[in-house]
C-alpha cells in the first residue's frame, strides 16, 4: 500500500503519521501543501495533526483551501481512502468531506492526555482490526475538538453506523461523545485522538497500531 502524508505550515504530527504508516508496512511519501497533484499510485492520504496556518480564521480552514486541498477532495470523491487526525479531522470537515464542525472545547482549555474510547463500528477499513465495542486508549491533544452536528446530521450518522469512535468520558463537550466519524462511503475517517502516537511500546501504548495494520491489509486485498 502507498500512503501520502500531507504537510502544511504548522503541521507537527506529520512525521509520527508517516512512521505509523511505515511501521504497518506501507510505502509512504510526503507531500507539501503547495503541490497541486498527488504522486501516482496513492492508496491512502493522511492529513496530520498540528496547527496548520496557525489555526488562523478557523482551525483547518486555510489548509482545506490550499493548493493540495482540491487534489485531496478529488481523490476522496473518486473513492480514495483518507485519514485525518486532530487538525486533519478539522481540515476534512472544512473541506466538506465529513459532516459537522469542530468547535472550542466546552471547558475552553487545551486538553492533552490519554483517553479511553469505544470502537463504535468495526465496519470500515480503519476499524476492522478492533472488536465491536472494544475499549482502547489513545491520546488527545486539542483545544478545538468539540464535535458539533445538527440533529438531522446526527440522526444520519447514527442510522448509517458512521460514528467510528466515542469517548468513554466526554472531555470536550462533543455531541453524542463523538471522537471520530466516517464518510458515507466509509473511506474517509476523521478523528480527534491520535492513533499514530500509540503504535509501539516506546510511546506508552499500542492501541493505535491496529488501525494502520487493518487499513494496510484491506488495501492489500483490494
Amino acid at each position: 500500500m502507498k500512503a501520502a502524508v500531507i504537510t502544511f505550515p504548522g503541521s507537527n504530527c506529520d512525521r509520527d503519521l508517516f512512521d505509523a504508516f511505515a511501521k504497518a508496512g506501507d510505502e509512504v511519501v510526503k507531500v507539501w501543501h503547495k503541490e497541486t497533484e498527488l504522486p501516482a499510485g496513492i492508496d491512502v492520504i493522511g492529513i496530520p495533526g498540528g496547527f496548520s496556518f496557525g489555526d488562523y480564521l478557523r482551525c483547518g480552514a486555510i489548509a482545506s483551501r490550499s493548493p493540495i486541498g482540491q487534489a485531496v477532495v478529488d481523490f476522496a470523491q473518486r473513492g480514495g481512502y483518507v485519514l485525518g487526525v486532530c487538525n486533519g479531522f478539522q481540515v476534512l470537515t472544512e473541506m466538506g468531506l465529513l459532516p459537522g464542525a469542530l468547535m472550542r472545547n466546552a471547558g475552553l482549555k487545551f486538553i492533552s492526555k490519554p483517553v479511553a474510547l469505544t470502537v463504535t463500528t468495526t465496519d470500515s477499513a480503519f476499524t476492522s482490526g478492533y472488536g465491536p465495542g472494544q475499549e482502547i486508549v489513545i491520546p488527545i491533544a486539542h483545544a478545538e475538538g468539540n464535535y458539533q452536528i445538527d440533529a438531522e446530521g446526527l440522526k444520519q450518522l447514527r442510522g448509517e453506523d458512521r460514528v467510528a469512535f466515542r469517548y468513554v468520558e466526554n472531555p470536550n463537550g462533543a455531541t453524542d461523545d463523538i471522537a471520530g466519524v466516517l464518510s458515507a462511503n466509509r473511506r474517509v475517517l476523521g478523528m480527534m485522538p491520535h492513533p499514530e502516537r500509540v503504535v509501539e511500546p516506546a510511546q506508552g501504548g499500542t492501541d493505535g497500531a491496529a488501525l494502520f495494520r487493518a487499513l494496510s491489509s484491506v488495501m492489500a486485498l483490494a
Binding site: 480552514a61 459532516p99 459537522g100 464542525a101 468547535m103 466546552a106 471547558g107 463537550g173
Partner: protein
Amino acid sequence: MKARVHVMLKDGVLDPQGEAVRAALGHMGFSGVEAVRQGKVIELDLAATDTAAAEAEVKAMCEKLLANTVIEKYTVEIA
C-alpha cells in the same frame, strides 16, 4: 471600495468563549449581562467599483472561506 464582513455563530450553536466572557464580566461586577456571543469582523479593501458586483463577490468569499456555514452566519456591508 471597502467591505466589512461580520461572522457570528448561528443561533443555537453553543459559544463557550462568549460564555466565558459573560462569566468574567459578572465577576468584575457588571451585573445584568444575560448573554455574550463572540464573532469576527473581517475588513476587505476591494479594487471593484460596482457595489452589486462587489457584494456578490464578497458573499461568494464568505460561502467558500470566510465563514463555515455549518456553524456560522455572516452579513456583508459594502461602503
